[in-house]
Symmetry: C2
Subunit: 347 residues, 2 copies
């Protein structure tokens, strides 16, 4: 059924609003007015966090690969991941949709169901949005959250001597994408990691009080280490042998004749967290029981950004995915040419 | 110069960030981290307002008609207008861009300059955003603002007996668009009103303490009256003879053989304010010196929504523009097939 068949824009908005409808004492006015009205006095925390991410069909998702629920989940999770990376708690979501006129209403509803499932899991309320007609299906999410001052983890807060740790194995999303792009069937683990990744909000609640800098891994470990170092005025030393890789990533790399490490370093969308922590706080982190993997450490700026290979040789740490500049031709690699996407096929 | 020529995404973001850079004591972290960090305790007002609007090339703007500065201005103003319509003060803006890989960097910068000019005029700070590669240039803006409890003007707050008033002449944007679509050259007034409309934030500051319901006119007067009445459970009576029309709108209507009133009732993007006010407060409004035009009144639900014609006859009030359902074929009328756009050529 097309949007015009159900009565147009306002009927669609009404249907979508029902999917995400949740009451909250602080939501004075939800969808349906010129703006949402949210009570923020007294404030739940001294700082408001705001992030926004835009996902474009063919660039960030493909209907031939992903179910609408997966697309919705990914859109929600990549935003929630940004709030997690700040040490915050996500709260209020706003969804802008560009829809083609021939899109199936069921598809749109299912995207919303995917968004809603993530929101419910993470305690987020969908409080508004916008719908518009266009020629490319596009989802923009703006997400608000809150953070306590002592839990705020900025990219700029790393200090020489800090350990760099990640919350889980890397490269699975990029490996899944590379297989899809090569017309090979990824195993369920890689497929899930690429099409419907989940963010590490619960881990961030544990890490935030202990970490210095934190960032989520959306553009590859290499890129994220570069971000932290540039903003903290430090260098870093990453130990290749320590980077956690799932066996399925190694298998995928073998089948594609790509170095598996590249999926972790230059891939993207793992949505694991990378954080720097003072050595003196590592014992406390271990006591929480949260599984984290050291991958290197923050060093003085003058020492640069180095990758220490298994054989002891060092190379400059690759910078990860910077789209526009190194994106392959859009037509030939649509799935890899946008931020938050896995980037050019590594190798 | 293309985006890849300047070094890609991060170089572009740096250039754009410089254009909008403004310090503010409450902006703890601006663009460049996973999320913006804004101090909200103590809160500037008890209620936070959030609105989001997405503008798509060919649907909401055309590069052949509008300068990039105008496109940026329109994107900013239509969001600021939503905050104004709530009686609020806009504060923090977040811009998501989808850009084609062959887009000129100068064009993007000029869009940002247009956004920035509006933001400066209205005291808004650009605090973050996202850029992405795609096949259709798209601008999503999320805007945060604040409102005092006694100035909050909801669509649902109209009461039978209220006067309905508008802040200025209507139909100019729709008339400008209709002329452009007909390959006729609009006069400067209509062109400006369509391509770079300005919102009525200052007027809203005057009206908010006095009005009951308020809404901005983005989809035509008819549609907005319907919104207010549906949410307030009232009817309305609009007096056609009272609807203010600029002479240029009448001239355009004559040249297109369209009834000029249709531009006001069924057009869009005027971004004037429509509000309902108790008769007892009209004298106070007049004392402020703000020019406002009564166009009708709120009546009991049972009386329905009526348009009283100049000859005394009444007809149902047209509902304005509901895209998807009554949008003409996208290819033949791209400029009129999206929300916030002028809707199908009236007539």
């Amino acid at each position: 059924m097309k949007i015009k068949d159900i009565g147009g824009e306002f009927a669609l908005i009404e249907q979508l609003t029902q999917i995400t409808s949740m009451d909250h004492a602080d939501l004075i006015v939800g969808p349906g007015d010129d703006a949402a009205v949210i009570r923020t006095a007294p404030a739940p925390a001294p700082y408001l966090l705001v992030t926004t991410d835009i996902l474009v069909e063919e660039s960030h998702f493909k209907r031939k690969w992903a179910t609408p629920e997966q697309i919705g989940t990914k859109a929600a999770e990549c935003n929630i991941s940004d709030i997690a990376a700040m040490g915050g708690t996500p709260a209020w979501m706003f969804i802008s949709l560009v829809l083609t006129k021939d899109i199936d209403v069921q598809w749109v509803q299912s995207v919303y169901r995917g968004v809603n499932a993530s929101c419910k899991r993470h305690g987020v309320i969908v409080a508004g949005g916008d719908t518009s007609l266009g020629t490319v299906n596009t989802i923009n999410i703006a997400l608000l959250g809150f953070v306590q001052a002592h839990e705020l983890c900025l990219r700029s807060h790393a200090q020489a001597g800090d350990l760099l740790m990640v919350t889980g194995p890397l490269g699975a999303s990029a490996a899944g994408l590379a297989l899809l792009n090569a017309d090979k069937k990824p195993c369920p683990y890689l497929l899930q990691k690429h099409l419907a990744p989940t963010c590490r909000l619960e881990a961030s609640r544990v890490i935030a009080p202990l970490a210095n800098a934190m960032i989520d891994i959306s553009d590859g470990l290499g890129s994220e280490v570069h971000h932290i170092c540039r903003q903290s005025n430090t260098g870093a030393r990453i130990d290749a042998a320590l980077i956690p890789l799932h066996d399925d990533v190694k298998t995928a790399a073998d089948s594609l004749e790509i170095e598996s490490l590249d999926f972790a370093l230059r891939g993207g969308e793992d949505f694991e967290l990378l954080f720097s922590i003072a050595p003196g706080k590592v014992a406390q982190l271990k006591q929480t029981g949260l599984a984290c993997h050291p991958v290197g450490r923050i060093v003085e700026l003058g020492e640069g950004l180095k990758l220490v290979r298994a054989d002891g040789s060092t190379t400059p740490l690759p910078g990860g995915f910077n789209h526009f500049s190194n994106a392959p031709d859009f037509q030939s690699a649509a799935g890899s040419s946008a931020p938050g996407s896995a980037g050019p096929t590594p190798g």
